[in-house]
């Protein structure tokens, strides 16, 4: 899983039927110290995350294993809102 920060939202009216009602967010992967990296990912939100929050993003086919994501065509899902990261 990677740590990411939420940058924005995506609105898509025409989409796969199974994505109906799912919130799409633009997230940017960040380092463990909180500094930004480059690039972005569109991820489906499963936890109700908000702007600028640090979140956990699971990628690949495992994203479908999150509760409520069964058989949904996604390869990135937000599965947690991070409170703290403690690195020694």
């Amino acid at each position: 899983m990677i740590i990411a920060r939420i940058l924005g939202t995506v609105v898509a009216t025409q989409k796969d039927e199974r994505l109906r009602g799912k919130k799409l967010l633009i997230v940017r992967p960040i380092n463990v110290d909180g500094s930004d990296t480059t690039g972005y990912v569109v991820a489906v939100d499963t936890v109700g995350a908000g702007f600028h929050e640090r979140v956990l993003v699971v990628a690949g086919s495992s994203a479908r294993l999150a509760q409520g994501m069964k058989d949904v065509p996604v390869d990135a899902a937000i599965v947690g809102v991070i409170d703290t990261v403690d690195v020694q």
Binding site: N31, L56, G60, A66, V81, V85, Q88
Partner: protein, 90 residues
């Protein structure tokens, strides 16, 4: 699977229900000389590893196999603890 060093912990109170009760650790992949290589990742722990320990971990869908496998959304899981650094023959 790859070798990694556990370098920290992650706390997330709000998370997907299927991750309830799982321990999240920050792991840094290491090369064959046990030097850090690449970026740290967040892994789910399946073996009871702690900070500072040398572990091995797997990525991809197989990462969910140690748990209820159709039900745990993880792409990065610690699946073993290396007994000691002397046990890594180079």
């Amino acid at each position: 699977m790859q070798l990694a060093r556990v370098i920290g912990t992650v706390v997330a109170t709000v998370k997907n229900d299927s991750l309830e009760g799982r321990k999240l650790l920050v792991v840094q992949t290491v090369d064959r000389n046990l030097k850090a290589s690449g970026k740290p990742m967040v892994a789910v722990d399946s073996v009871g590893a702690g900070v500072g320990e040398l572990v091995f971990w797997c990525r991809g869908k197989e990462a969910s196999f140690p748990f209820k496998r159709e039900d745990t959304p993880t792409d990065c899981t610690i699946v073993g603890i290396v007994d000691s650094e002397q046990h890594v023959s180079r």
